[in-house]
């Protein structure tokens, strides 16, 4: 059963396609820099390939995230706006929303984005893994190698921070 590991090129490609997007996103949330996120993604997969004989397919994902979690960068330019909002397919009818309302919402969205980028790294990463990649808490826990409770706490703290920026209680 020799080729049942990722040293087989086509198996490796299949694994790559299944996980590269989520891994790149994860590194993007962590570093806030697209170039660095890609470089580190490449490095993580190369490391996996170099160890393909020692890592079983079941453990490969965990290996990948462990490598990614441990990549430390000298903090180079943390880009500002890395995230964007998807364009809404249904353009709201003009009657229900006044230009004033639309402008207010746009301002809210901008401030929200800025607030997210200012979250501390652990909160930001967990929060975005949930919001953008749609990962469940137990999945996030696995990938970050922490407990589900710890994930919930980070999400909770992130929400608290964001709430503070917009709270009606000043």
């Amino acid at each position: 059963m020799e080729d049942a590991n990722l040293c087989n090129e086509s198996l490796f490609e299949r694994f790559y396609r299944a996980h590269v997007k989520a891994l790149r996103n994860f590194l993007l949330y962590k570093f806030g820099n697209t170039e660095q996120a890609e470089d580190c993604t490449q490095e993580a997969f190369i490391k996996l390939w170099q160890n393909c004989g020692q890592v079983t397919p079941e453990k490969a994902k965990s290996f990948l995230y462990t490598v990614a979690n441990n990549l430390n960068l000298n903090q180079i330019a943390h880009q500002k706006v890395v995230l964007t909002y998807a364009q809404k397919a249904n353009v709201s009818s003009a009657t229900s929303e006044s230009p004033h309302y639309i402008m207010e919402e746009e301002e809210f969205k901008t401030r929200l984005l800025s607030a997210i980028e200012n979250l501390n790294e652990t909160q930001r990463v967990a929060f975005l893994m949930h919001r953008i990649d749609g990962k469940k808490y137990h999945e996030i826990a696995e990938e970050l190698n922490i407990s589900v409770k710890a994930v919930e706490k980070r999400i909770h703290l992130a929400l608290e921070e964001l709430r503070k920026k917009f709270s009606n209680f000043r």
């Binding site: 090129e9 490796f12 490609e13 790559y16 396609r17 590269v20 997007k21 790149r24 996103n25 993007l28 697209t34 890609e38 993604t41 490449q42 997969f45 190369i46 390939w49 170099q50 890395v82 995230l83 964007t84 909002y85 998807a86 809404k88 809210f108 969205k109 929200l112 984005l113 997210i116 929060f127 975005l128 949930h130 919001r131 953008i132 469940k136 808490y137 409770k149 994930v151 919930e152 706490k153 999400i155 909770h156 929400l159 608290e160 964001l162 709430r163 917009f166 709270s167 009606n168 209680f169």
Partner: protein, 303 residues
């Protein structure tokens, strides 16, 4: 009384709250804000990236290191091949040397030795012999019980842990279990050699040793061993050994902790009916048979 922190908003974000909990959260003055945060963040996207280009760069790395890898593989394979050849030679040599025949519990096999001598091997037994140069050197090692029909020829020896049986064209049965050796001659002449003595058996004679001390030596009317005809015969056997024989012959597990250890058993039990055999044996010692499942029985004392 906060034992475990329940992160309500985290649960709410993941749609894991009950209706009651949701109602409670709605009362929060910032609920509208939280709702907006929830729906807008769900619409966030990361910038696109070139998946294929990245894969290509990774594969180029693979190709580079691949060359080095393949060189080593070739060398290793060559060494492995050489090793295999040596192993093969050695193995082949060894294999032409010793043959083995084995039976598990509940089994019985019949086979021929190189000179057409016939052997029937009873359950839980093992026999080995060297086929090379057989005619000049007819020697088998036996652990268990076998009935031999030896073709005429030079000496034929059956070596056991308890003694060696030598014959000249005969039919005889050898049973060696634990410290007990039992030999019966049915045709021709058989010599049984133990460290203390050498005895020759003529047809009808049966001889037994326990721990190399003579147990009995007398005549039987049987023309072949009882087990060949599906009967299990015992003479002055320890009850534990009788149970072990039944376990082996029928492939059963018999639990009998309280079973007597010293009252020797002499008698015949049916070899084709396990329940009848157990009943008969248990009855002799005032025990009863309890069936646990198809392969397991228990012998319990009757009050």
């Amino acid at each position: 009384m906060k034992e475990e922190e329940k992160y309500q908003w985290a649960a709410w974000l993941d749609d894991q709250v009950s209706d009651a909990e949701l109602e409670q959260l709605r009362q929060d003055p910032d609920y509208a804000v939280m709702e907006k945060i929830k729906s807008y963040t769900a619409a966030l996207r990361t910038p696109e990236f070139e998946e294929d280009a990245l894969l290509l760069r990774i594969q180029n790395q693979q190709r580079q290191s691949g060359k080095v890898r393949r060189l080593f593989v070739k060398q290793t394979l060559q060494w492995a091949a050489l090793l295999l050849v040596f192993l093969g030679l050695g193995l082949g040599y060894m294999m032409t040397r010793t043959e083995h025949e084995m039976t598990g519990s509940g089994e019985r096999i019949t086979f021929q030795l190189p000179d057409a001598s016939e052997v029937q091997l009873h359950a839980g037994s093992e026999l080995a012999y060297k086929s090379w140069n057989w005619d000049s050197n007819r020697l088998v090692s036996l652990d268990g019980e076998a009935y031999f029909k030896v073709a005429k020829g030079k000496r034929f020896d059956v070596k056991t842990a308890q003694g060696t049986v030598s014959v000249l064209g005969t039919q005889f049965n050898v049973k060696v279990r634990g410290n007990r050796l039992e030999v019966t001659c049915f045709e021709g002449k058989v010599q049984v050699a133990t460290p203390s003595e050498k005895i020759i058996l003529t047809p009808g004679k049966t001889l037994a040793y326990d721990q190399q001390k003579r147990l009995f030596f007398h005549t039987t009317n049987a023309l072949q061993p009882a087990w060949i005809a599906k009967e299990l015969a015992f003479e002055k056997e320890k009850p534990q050994d009788v149970l072990a024989e039944l376990e082996r012959h029928f492939d059963l597990t018999i639990k009998a902790e309280a079973f007597p250890k010293n009252e020797l058993f002499t008698g015949k039990l049916p070899g084709d009916n396990s329940e009848a055999a157990l009943q008969l044996l248990a009855h002799s010692y005032h025990f009863k048979v309890v069936k646990i499942n198809d392969r397991t029985y228990s012998l319990d004392a009757t009050p």
